[in-house]
Symmetry: C2
Subunit: 431 residues, 2 copies
């Protein structure tokens, strides 16, 4: 297996991943050389990327960013990627629209400014392109030649697309009984797609075995052995939101929770911007959003627990359906520390919220977007989210990927013969 020799407690990177200096354990703080590892050798805690950030010249850094490319690589000085990353073949995700949602704000009673960060504008139409792009650069740096992942569909497509463009081979693993549409999205990029006879948990277990076996030699699993790099991609959501608001942190953010990684990395990104002097230090509240049918973090938040009790997911919000979210405890900590909350909504509310967002702003979100919009409304009604403050709600994916969710309740207003009389009778003319 291609795991690099790990030299604990040294900051000397063996590879060029830009400002990334080392991996550090989020639990015990132990540091490791940059490599395709994801768990601390001492305490088994998750590893994350530690940086030598370019502090001391916020004006220069801001100018450099603003004159950079219109994608995530404008933030290359803050990401685990080489400085020349923009010249390498990749999908150049990010710099998606931050939509001022005045119509939705009126419906929800938000007066302080409401924005949708719409990540459906990414190349494969979900935020996954951001994280996969980081994993791809790590894979390049570590000399991997095959890009892989375990996936329930969306991630497989993002990996397949990124690998195709970058000239990597890809081989992704999915449960064998996935909907045909998702299989098509994964397989169309020409990489190998392997259906595993079992559940998503079985797929995950299989991938862990493969990483430890010579069969997996030269394989970078974006969400396993490249996970510390992969996760950093979510920081770019924080960077973009603040830059698009004129280098200001919004008062409140509503973020979906699957593993919880995205929420914790957005918080990390905001902290970095403050440290670098790119934004003024100010209080902000982070809210987590789950579907009721998979709400382990929300349940723990409400019960006042520090640990998250796993659940068996049963919700239409499949992209958020992780019953045992690895970063759950960190999410709880961030929500509590920032004065936020974690809330959940049922599937009917998810559908209603997808339609609300579509009807008011012309944005067709996937179920995860229905979760965040639905939770936003619920939080306002409960007095937990302050409608007089600037609020950013994330939509992390595209409604075209979860048509099933709205299909049963979304149809024609009327079906009529091609005659003016029939149209008049349908009562749809303007008077």
């Amino acid at each position: 297996m291609a795991v690099q020799t790990v030299a604990p407690s040294t900051d000397a990177p063996a590879v060029d991943l830009g400002p990334a200096a080392a991996l550090s354990c989020r639990e015990c703080g132990e540091r490791f050389a940059l490599g395709p590892i994801f768990a601390c050798e001492l305490c088994f805690g998750p590893l994350e990327v530690a940086y030598d950030l370019p502090v001391g010249d916020p004006e220069g850094l801001r100018k450099k960013i603003e004159s950079g490319p219109e994608n995530i690589w404008r933030y290359a000085p803050l990401l685990p990627v080489p400085a020349d990353v923009a010249s390498k073949p990749n999908l150049n995700p990010g710099w998606t629209k931050l939509v001022k949602a005045d119509n939705l704000a009126r419906e929800l009673g938000v007066t302080g400014g409401l924005y949708i960060k719409d990540d459906s504008g990414n190349p494969t139409h979900s935020f996954k392109d951001r994280v996969v792009a980081q994993a791809l650069e790590a894979a390049r740096a570590f000399g991997f030649t095959t890009l892989s992942c375990s996936s329930t569909g969306n991630l497989a497509g993002a990996v397949g697309a990124a690998a195709a463009r970058a000239g990597f081979r890809s081989c992704v693993f999915i449960p064998h009984d996935l909907e045909q549409g998702k299989v098509v999205m994964a397989a169309v990029y020409g990489g190998d797609v392997v259906g595993i006879e079992g559940t998503y948990d079985d797929v995950n277990r299989f991938c862990s075995e493969l990483i430890g076996d010579p069969l997996g030699e030269g394989w970078g699993f974006v969400n396993v052995n490249l996970r510390p790099y992969y996760g950093e991609g979510s920081k770019t959501l924080a960077y973009e939101i603040c830059e698009q608001l004129g280098w200001e942190i919004p008062d409140q953010l509503v973020i979906p929770i699957a593993s919880g990684s995205q929420l914790t990395k957005i918080d990390k990104g905001l902290q970095e911007l403050i440290k670098l002097g790119l934004v003024a230090d100010k209080p902000y509240r982070i809210f987590g959003a789950q579907a009721e049918g998979c709400s382990p973090v929300s349940a723990a938040f409400k019960a006042g627990h520090d640990v998250v009790r796993p659940q068996k997911p049963d919700t239409i919000a499949k992209s958020l359906a992780i019953g045992n979210p690895a970063d759950g405890p960190y999410v709880l900590d961030i929500a509590r520390r920032t004065g936020g909350a974690v809330e959940d909504v049922d599937d009917a509310t998810v559908v209603e919220a997808i339609k609300l967002l579509a009807r008011t702003e012309g944005i067709f979100a996937e179920t995860a977007g229905g979760v965040t919009v639905g939770v936003t409304r619920k939080l306002i009604e409960a007095g937990l989210l302050d409608p007089t403050l600037t609020t950013v709600v994330l939509n992390t994916g595209d409604g075209l990927k979860t048509l099933d969710a709205v299909e049963p309740t979304t149809g024609p207003t009327a079906t009529i013969p091609a005659s003016l009389e029939a149209f008049r009778a349908a009562g749809l003319a303007t008077d």
Copy 2:
């Protein structure tokens, strides 16, 4: 009906649509005041927008554009929209990626630089957002309150989304037997969707009747009475391609043909850029691409005809399936004048080309993109498209909208039990 009084032969616009000065007949040249009209009163020729363009200061204009918003409104001085259009609620489409397609170039033997203009990055994931955005501003200017169209699906979604965001009512007309997925995409934005018992031709006829009836009072049909404005949106493809190439016209462009409007407007846009001094005047070749199952323009081109004989469409490239393309004769003229050609490919080639683009560049195109990529290859093989010249190929839509096309031939490489032995036996490990 809300048709404005038309004062022939005057250039004084009754409404503020920026540099748009009048409508002029493409056949007889007669001019009409700006209004919701689409056919010449004298000769029934199609009307198009005539401009007072800001000539004389190319440097100033270029700077203004470059400092404008990252969407089509950077070109507001060249479009039939008011100067403050960017501040009005709309979907802000455009400024999509121009992808340097080096992998695809290698496969096709293109050495002069190959680019994909990828319009799947638009808000509702097709180029339709560009044209609908223009129609919306015209509707605002003419005081319409309902936005409408006849559609086979994609346009209905683009209209529904744009109307929702802009606070317009929408009511769109589709054939009653459309696939459920397309109905969902049209209806999810909350406007009225009316299924007409009949074919798309019946839907079109019905809409023409409705425009002439008091029932249609206050209705703007983007592709009928607002068509002259609507069509101008396609010019932005020409503007963006040239700006993204560093204010240079590419040597060759491959453009899909449905009605032919897009191709003619791209040519119009290029001519405007030359006139304004924003790009150097140079020869360029425009190639049109059709599916064999709906290839009336290609057939006429090959036969040396000036007129286009209608066909009954039968192809998977449904977004291009217009059997009697209104702008067919103009397309023939442009292809011949510029030294281009019009070519078609069969459905199997369309599917193969979708996969080729996905496999090489990670771009999942809709069938129209398969048509342009497939035709590009065919034109190179025939010696009609010069592989040593800079070539831009349009992808006008997203593969997620035409999953059916690739589904029968796109599946998992293997389905195996969750064991390393089974994986080894599948022969997918790297050695």
